[in-house]
Subunit: 314 residues, 2 copies
């Protein structure tokens, strides 16, 4: 049984034809062009879906979309980066045009489903996923169930507080995990630290506004003092969050994904080690912390997993 | 259908005959006397259960026990305040002696079941419970399911980190909710603050070691500076934890119980208000924060709810 997974991002989208083993048989990518409005985006997705469904019989389509999703109706209730998408019936629109059954899920939730179906957390019933990118997304599977919460907007793990009175977060609060350990947070630390740390090798490479999280990790690895300071802030915030999440969910695995997971063991090892400071002694040995290995396929595979999960649920 | 609920505490126990509406028809209380060993405790519980089951036909017994419980077998894996209770087959021992089916659950989990069945959270499927006492216990119901976690020791909400590098916690970590907002934490703040705040009205009443959390709340209400400082620490810690819990679970309700819930609206109102600083704007209006109204019956009713939950599950 093949399915189609749609990774709908604010900038780009990717549509893949996926088999039951998580192999992507074909894919089409393009720019989302959100500014052209929801119907134009639907057109682009429909074209890609119809193209891929010509190649093989397809049982259904899964869409991982940012924002607040009504997963029952497949409606986008609202999505910060998709202006005008308010109560937009995404599934219905695409079903009408493709005659395929369409399921929509929040992208971070889809990501967790993908890790459980095809990733490092394959087959596990208790998984906490963090995606470290521009923001920090969260997805939780507990007792085999995707944690959506009472109104479908749960698992906002990026907005756990890890440092009261810490840096301002985009959500309006202070000290959220996202305000300390996302790519945006790192870029902010760099810009704010420029005047105090002009000697940092970060600024020998580029102007502050062009320094990337990768640059910070690379220079931290080389021992640059300011880069290491930022790196330690990121690691500590992740350690606090993971410690609390382990104490809350008693999961089998915590998966770290998203672009920043590319930092590999240089990030993973200290996070694992320092998380132990916040984990109950009784929890030691009950969980693993792993990096995602789905890479850039995570979005399509997560979206495809929505279909497998829904069809399996029935 | 009547059931028996057993609230097994480190100091006292209470056994109640409970009907389906949560009415306690009869009760027997006594000292646990943990030092006499597990079999002596079992004898006392068996006597009480047999006495109560004489009065009415009883379908089963539920026991809420501190510590790490294997809820499938009804075994106490270990319990910090019950020395020697290691892999102790509590359910089996009591079943043999009473010929009644016995279910055992961690007491904080039982508490959450009780709130959902008979308390302020009646009928809700998404509930987070915090019990503020000597320690801080947690119980979570998400999507109708009791969150036990992969090895049955989840929902340790008292050990969420709410202040990195905060006060030392009994678990070995620093800055856990329990280290800032439990009765023990308050007693510690009082003792540690005595030398710096000898003018506090707290110390006009009693020696530092005899000052209770209630004294602190009473004096805070009267405007005592040091008592207010402690009170604010407690409120802030609870607000941070509740904010994160709302963002994680997207619950319909957060219930605050335990002895400290007796502080009433004086505690509840500022906790509710300050929690808003840590809750995502999208979560506003999706949840309530309420005080438990089960009072001293919470233990028996929680234990009784275990039976209703298990029999209903089937």
């Amino acid at each position: 049984m093949n399915v189609i997974g749609v990774d709908l991002g604010g900038t780009n989208y990717a549509v893949g034809l996926v088999d039951e083993d998580g192999k992507i048989l074909a894919r089409i990518e393009g720019e989302t062009k959100v500014d052209e409005g929801p119907d134009a985006v639907v057109e682009r997705l429909v074209d890609s879906i119809l193209n891929l469904s010509k190649e093989s019989s397809v049982s259904a389509v899964g869409i991982g979309s940012p924002g607040s999703i009504d997963h029952v109706t497949g409606t986008v209730k609202f999505s910060p980066n998709f202006p005008g998408w308010i109560d937009f019936p995404l599934a219905e629109k695409i079903e009408k045009r493709t005659s395929l059954r369409v399921f929509v899920e929040n992208d971070a939730n889809a990501y967790a489903l993908g890790e459980r179906m095809f990733g490092v957390a394959k087959g596990l019933d208790h998984v906490v996923c963090l995606t470290l990118g521009t923001g920090i997304g969260g997805g939780v599977i507990t007792h085999g169930i995707l944690l959506r919460g009472s109104t479908g907007i749960g698992a906002e793990l990026g907005h756990m507080n890890v440092l009261p009175n810490g840096p301002k977060c985009g959500c309006g609060s202070r000290g959220c995990l996202e305000a300390l350990a996302s790519a945006t947070a790192i870029r902010n630390f760099v810009r704010e630290g420029f005047e105090r740390h002009p000697e940092s090798s970060l600024f020998k490479l580029k102007k502050p506004e062009f320094v990337t999280p990768k640059d910070v990790f690379d220079q931290a690895k080389l021992g640059d003092h300011f880069a290491l300071q930022i790196f330690n802030t990121v690691v500590d915030a992740l350690a606090v969050a993971i410690g609390s999440l382990v104490n809350i969910f008693n999961p089998q695995m915590v998966v770290i994904g998203g672009g920043m997971a590319n930092a590999g063991d240089f990030l993973l090892d200290p996070v694992k080690e320092r998380a132990k400071n916040y984990v109950l002694p009784t929890m030691v040995g009950t969980y693993k912390v792993e990096l995602s290995r789905l890479g850039k396929d995570a979005g399509i595979l997560g979206a495809a997993s929505i279909v497998f999960e829904r069809l399996f649920e029935r």
